[in-house]
Symmetry: C3
Subunit: 264 residues, 3 copies
């Protein structure tokens, strides 16, 4: 269902169409997220004020909602943007950063899922699990559970919500509740750089803007991360150089690199 | 009216005087903007709370207002800071990020122009045009109109507002409604890095703090961007390396580089 | 009282325990602060909403409060988090960014000191002095006073508040009101990069989470900055390369580098 060829085609579509991706995201990652979208060929806009959410989500080709540094006023904007996007039929990606760490975050995710019906939910295993079960506690924003259990719960969340669920980890799993796709590249430095999951969600939004099949879009998003990560590793001496060269890799990536590096 | 020699002299003034530049700017670019100001020799302060705007704008040598990630509370702070700066006679630079993309942004710019009388308005062609005509729609924050038309409209905006208008693009144009200056360096990677326009506005503020002629200050600001961009290009393999080496270039820049690279 | 061996042991404890450090910090530095904490081996979480402060400070091993880009809603969150941390007995680091520049900042620091009893207060000389005396005015966030005077005032502040006070500068001084420790490495590019003080406060929080003696934790925090700075200088051509390689240095640092570079 996902192939290097499809990933390359989706990458080319982003480059050719330059979709406008509306991000309501956290303060930590805004610069990197915007640069990642520019590097891959999309056109990012970051905006959150309730007063302009209808306008902004009204001209975008995809909406990415990331709850990393949440507050009540922003939730208001997220819901307005989400409803506008939902009405217009453009894809919505939800990144439930830190779900499970506080009830404020978990409840906000439930609210967004109910009122906006995200197309794709992308997080780590703990976050995904927190959206189903009260039993799972996250320690900050790092995953603490095994992947196998996560896949099963992701299928459950996908069936409950109707969203494609994308779980990042050493192996990434993407499911529509039925099929499960996986991306097997494991990039050791990636968890040592803040906001790589947020970048994955943003790229997933860019792909979803040009690719009508959510499970394929979500898998392509993770594939782009994986290929850029492989391109970056030989040039990285630590998190600083990794973060910088990763943007260059997104910019330089073409079909050759996808074919060379992607592990399905 | 603008020469490499004047640009060098203004650069030296910034280095010698280290002007305090008060920025009310967007979440995406704050780190880069602060670093760009430090690298060029200015002293940045980022603050937005209405409660401290009189104090902060009261000790600054220039104020930069950037509406990139707007909200009502911030607008309140912008107006207080702008009025304080206006009363004190220090230069105000307005960056109308995304004007035209939403009516909230366009109206906020009109409010700031009316209540604070900015000295310099710096944006891309779409943003500048959006402040005059309702007919121009921007797609996110990227320019979609030709430069020639932009210059004419910039003259119009300058005449309407009394501000110097600085339009960035492949060629930058700076006008006081009468004279038009241009900076002709075209840096291909610059549009692929988020917030370079915001950096241009911040540097323009730093120059305006030490240079009493707004059109010369605005042109010098764009000239510093151009020279740093030329210094950076040979070292950049993509947006990541460009963003980093650009800061080094601002730090390393001296008269020799200005003379070598600036294209007027 | 502080030795390279103790610094190395504390570094190893951070690497082994991966303490969760809750940061309420400013927009300018969030990305770098989170990356610095990841690079040193801690687990950062950035969160500010009053609604989740009890939950978040309730699972953290240390709390870092940084007032760099202040607003009323954030102060509310800071105080709730600070009281929760205080009740739980986890260390609290306060970074009084820009104290003295506006009365809003100075008063907020006084409020946090009174209501939350920070374990360690870390700032530059002007900021520390502003918390004692109304006579000291800061120009933005840069220090304008001599170190000797600062040490005396820091002792005063330490005695007044019960907190360890850590002053950064060409020589860093750390005092519990009685003893004074110093870190003598002077890293010339450090003041040209925004947020290095904020990084120092965050690292101080990470050390405090694993080291029960506040004066030792505070000195270790500054020692980690100093050693990483020395490791970075040979690779830095300016503020851009410094900022990036500094993260790599935190990641690569081991006992050998601490022994080689630390100047006490």
């Amino acid at each position: 269902m996902i192939t290097a060829k499809k990933v390359s085609e989706n990458l080319l579509k982003i480059r050719n169409q330059g979709p406008l991706v509306h991000n309501i995201t956290n303060f930590v990652v805004m610069n990197n997220t915007a640069n990642a979208l520019l590097s891959i060929g999309a056109s990012p806009v970051m905006a959150h004020a309730p007063e302009e959410m209808e306008n902004m989500a009204g001209i975008a080709s995809a909406l990415v909602i990331n709850i990393g540094t949440l507050s009540n006023k922003w939730i208001e904007g997220m819901v307005i943007a989400g409803k506008t996007a939902s009405k217009r039929g453009i894809p919505i990606v939800l990144d439930p950063v830190g779900a499970g760490a506080t009830s404020f975050r978990t409840q906000t995710c439930h609210k967004i899922i109910q009122e906006c019906s995200p197309t794709i939910i992308r997080g780590n295993a703990s976050e995904i699990m927190a959206l189903i079960s009260d039993d799972v506690k996250t320690k900050g924003v790092d995953s603490t559970e095994s992947s196998d259990k996560a896949v099963e719960l992701a299928k459950t969340l996908s069936n409950e919500t109707g969203a494609v669920v994308s779980i990042s980890g050493p192996v990434d799993f993407i499911t529509n509740g039925d099929q499960v796709l996986s991306i097997k590249n494991d990039i050791p430095l990636m968890p040592k750089v803040t906001g790589m999951g947020c970048t994955a969600s943003a790229l997933t939004g860019a792909v979803a803007a040009v690719c009508p099949t959510p499970i394929e879009a979500a898998a392509t998003g993770m594939a782009l991360m994986a290929v850029a990560g492989e391109m970056t590793m030989p040039q990285a001496q630590g998190p600083g150089t990794f973060q910088m060269h990763f943007l260059d890799a997104l910019f330089q990536m073409g079909e050759a690199e996808v074919l060379k590096y992607l592990q399905l």
